[in-house]
């Protein structure tokens, strides 16, 4: 099993390897970052704010004189975890609904599509604002908001795929065999949607990272003293004028994380496709 994964990793193109390396790096940071961080995430350790790089503080200090490296290492897990969980939730629920619509016929499809239109047409950040105001900010709510925002997009793509696949002969064969809709959706249709859905997952992941940072701009992010990467950028934005590391470091972190995820997924999709043909 491990050998298999290793082999597949070796077979990836260069961009895929780079993506894999970045993803592994950020996963490791998300998992072990809080343990390895040199200072507690909320500790005021530097006398000066927006310090530059130094031996004590590798990435300088933030707007309150906290250690940027520590905050980055602790914050990565929120971005990685939230975005991954929300993207996963959005993808699975969007796909599940799309499958329901594809095998359920117009009676299911029509109301679902109206519901999705509704979700997609309310601006997501404003929607988040209302929900946070109504229910209070929590990780769970953030997760739900991000997921709900991106369900319709996934639904559209998954539905188009599933409707096409539902016309395939093997689905007809399964129907003629007397299979139930659930089996058809799960066993016959779903496995053939995985690659495009993975690519979509990658893009949703990026969008969710972006949405989370957008929400942090509106003051709706993770609870302090913790902060996701977007919040780290946001809270240090006043350091931008002086080119503070406190803002550059999390911005670079976001970019490498999202680009890495997508490079990897592109590469997997590519090699997967090659195999299928």
């Amino acid at each position: 099993m491990m050998g298999n994964i290793f082999q597949r990793a070796k077979a990836l193109p260069l961009s895929g390897k780079l993506g894999l390396a970045l993803v592994i790096f950020w996963l490791a940071v998300a998992l072990f970052g809080p343990m390895l961080a040199p200072y507690p995430v909320g500790a005021f350790v530097a006398y000066d704010v927006f310090d530059g790089q130094s031996a004590k503080h590798w990435l300088g200090s933030d707007y309150l004189g906290r250690d940027v490296l520590s905050r980055l290492m602790s914050g990565a897990r929120y971005t990685v975890g939230l975005a991954a969980a929300a993207a996963l939730l959005a993808s699975t629920s969007g796909t599940a609904l799309a499958l329901t619509a594809a095998v359920g016929g117009a009676k299911v499809d029509e109301p679902l599509s109206r519901f999705m239109d509704m979700l997609i047409s309310i601006p997501s950040k404003i929607f988040s604002l209302v929900l946070v105001a109504a229910f209070g900010s929590s990780l769970g709510l953030l997760l739900l908001i991000a997921a709900f925002t991106y369900i319709p997009g996934n639904y559209r793509i998954a539905r188009a795929l599933a409707v096409n696949l539902a016309q395939m002969d093997y689905v007809q064969v399964a129907k003629a065999r007397g299979e139930r809709r659930f089996y058809i959706a799960i066993a016959e249709i779903l496995p053939n949607m995985i690659h495009p859905l993975l690519a979509d997952f990658g893009l949703r992941f990026v969008f969710i990272v972006l949405l989370l940072s957008g929400l942090s701009f509106l003051g709706l992010g993770v609870q302090p003293p913790d902060a996701d990467l977007g919040s780290l950028v946001r809270e240090n934005i006043s350091g931008l004028g002086e080119g503070a590391l406190a803002i550059i470091a999390p911005a670079v972190a976001i970019a490498t994380l999202t680009v890495g995820v997508n490079l990897l997924i592109d590469a997997i999709g590519f090699s997967g496709k090659g195999k299928g043909q």
Binding site: P40, G42, A43, F44, V49, Y63, L64, G65, L129, V132, A133, G136, S137, L218, G219, L220, Q223, P224, P225, I237, S238, G239, L240, G241, E242
Partner: protein, 514 residues
């Protein structure tokens, strides 16, 4: 920290106390350098923009409203740079018993529509605050107006429900801006102020043109002021630095470095009684435990807050709401500081080691989120597990404020010590934030209000400060300085401690040297 959703503060603006000494000026004392001159057009940026923006002075809810109202309306009195009420539309204000007041108006003052100001206008303006339908922010204060009537075309008689020597200071609040009798349409402004309202688009902009018939000769100096709002602080500072606006309100201390670095701009710092305070509800546990309260008060690293949160633009406070520059400030009270040992001891006495407590903070209360982070950090060192619960500014005051065992409030300065204590610390006050009940304090409050002797009064207020400091469930770590910034060519600026931009009154006083 600034948030587009948060009005600067939801508390009504109230002028500060009486007779405050000078000494608040910054090195850039424009007064000496230049003579006032006419002309010029500037753009000013406030910090709140909303469709709720209003031209009705009674409804003024935020700094942008106050600035706007000062441009278009005049008041009976106005606080000067020493926070002493000066006569404006009133020529004379007199009372022998502090209950019955007589006000004589200046002659020949005209509204923007050409009508002449009469006593009837003043009576109508003041009385409308008592009508709930007006929605006045001063409704509570106006309750003490027992009777107001015009005794002649120039004379107004006011009878209060009880003695109050502070009436002139109370009338200096923008909400009491004088309207023409019967005004009901607030799509434009019809006042007696220094500027005419050329355009008013709520949430977008206000365009003010010089009032050529303003009753103060020579004033105002500027031809036109465009007042806009830029809620995002970074954007506001950038707009100033890029020359798009000429004066901005409410600069974050963190941006002060950038403005200092600009040769074209000046900072104006206004020390004030504004503070963000921690509330520990006395009617709830564990915050009702006096040892817990004491522990928390020892846990604030005030110099750190002053330095890190406010970059030094703050005054260290002593857990009571009277700032050091206030005449009734009690200087001999020992300053409380960070003392982890004492905090730990109190916490042990409270028997609360290891408990987890949520602490509610919001961008609505300036600096509270970071203060909570500071508190949490130090709490963790003595085995106190505080969980910061940041909630959005939107709805904070109605949903969270005073509703949790631990949360933050944010209080603007009040014109008198009496008002500050009566509104926030009296046992039965609606905004008794911590819900503490101290009969001695309540007695002192009544006594001080009736006391004519200034020295005696100072002593009474001093004891009240001590009581609040030691027993009240409110902790005030620092008073926050107000920071504005403006183009160097804008002259005539000086701080007035009741608010930014010269206590929101800059429009009348400044001139452009471009």
């Amino acid at each position: 920290m600034t948030d587009i959703l948060s009005p600067y503060s939801r508390r009504g603006l109230i002028g500060a106390g009486l007779g405050v000494g000078a000494g608040l000026l910054l090195p850039d004392s424009a007064m000496s350098a230049s003579r006032p001159r006419r002309g010029g057009r500037i753009r000013a940026a406030g910090m709140t923009a909303s469709t709720a923006d209003t031209l009705d002075p009674a409804k003024g809810a935020n700094s942008s409203d106050y600035i706007r109202h000062y441009m278009f309306y005049s008041l009976l009195t106005q606080l000067d740079r020493n926070l002493i009420p000066q006569l404006e539309l009133a020529e004379r204000i007199e009372s022998s018993d502090q209950i019955n007041w007589h006000i004589r108006l200046r002659k020949g003052i005209t509204f923007h529509d050409g009508a002449t100001l009469t006593a009837q206008d003043v009576v109508w303006t003041l009385m409308r605050h008592k009508n709930p339908a007006t929605g006045s922010k001063m409704a509570q204060i106006a309750e003490q107006f027992a009777q107001i009537r015009a005794t002649s075309k120039q004379d107004v008689f006011i009878r209060l429900t009880g003695p109050n020597a502070d009436l002139p200071a109370i009338l200096a609040q923008t909400h009491f801006g004088i309207l023409r009798e019967g005004t009901s349409d607030f799509r434009t402004a019809n006042g007696t102020g220094p500027f005419l309202c050329a355009q008013f688009r709520p949430g977008v902009r206000t365009l003010a043109r010089r009032n050529p018939n303003f009753w103060k000769p020579g004033k105002p100096y500027l031809d036109e002021i465009e007042l806009i709002s830029i809620p995002d602080e970074t954007s506001r500072v950038n707009a100033l630095l890029s020359g798009d606006v000429h004066i901005i309100l409410a600069v974050n201390p963190r941006s002060s470095k950038r403005i200092h670095a600009s040769p074209r701009h000046n900072l104006m710092v206004t020390p004030s009684g504004l503070h963000t305070n921690l509330i520990m509800r006395q009617d709830r546990l564990p915050t009702g435990n006096p040892h817990f309260v004491a522990a928390i008060k020892y846990l604030f690293d005030r110099p750190l807050i002053k330095r890190a949160l406010f970059r030094g633009y703050a005054t260290i406070a002593n857990d009571h709401p009277i700032p050091p520059f206030h005449p009734y400030y009690r200087a001999d009270l020992p300053q409380r500081g960070l003392d982890l040992d004492k905090a730990r001891w109190h916490l042990q006495r409270a028997g609360l080691k290891g408990t987890r407590l949520p602490i509610y903070a919001s961008p609505a209360a300036e600096g509270s989120v970071d203060m909570a982070s500071v508190l949490q950090e130090y709490g963790s060192r003595i085995g106190l597990n505080l969980a910061v619960n940041r909630v959005p500014a939107d709805g904070y005051w109605s949903t969270h404020w005073m509703k949790h065992p631990m949360g933050f409030g944010n209080t603007n300065p009040r014109p008198t010590a009496d008002l500050m204590f009566s509104l926030f610390y009296k046992s039965d006050a609606a905004w008794n934030e911590s819900g503490w009940k101290n009969p001695r304090f309540d007695r002192l409050l009544v006594e001080a209000r009736g006391e004519a002797n200034q020295a005696k009064r100072k002593q009474l207020y001093g004891e009240m400060q001590e009581l609040v400091r030691d027993y009240c469930g409110v902790s005030i770590p620092v008073f926050i300085n107000l920071i504005d910034a403006h183009d160097r060519r804008l002259k005539g600026m000086y701080p007035i401690a009741i608010g930014g931009m010269m206590g929101y009154q800059f429009a009348e006083h400044v001139w452009w040297e471009g």
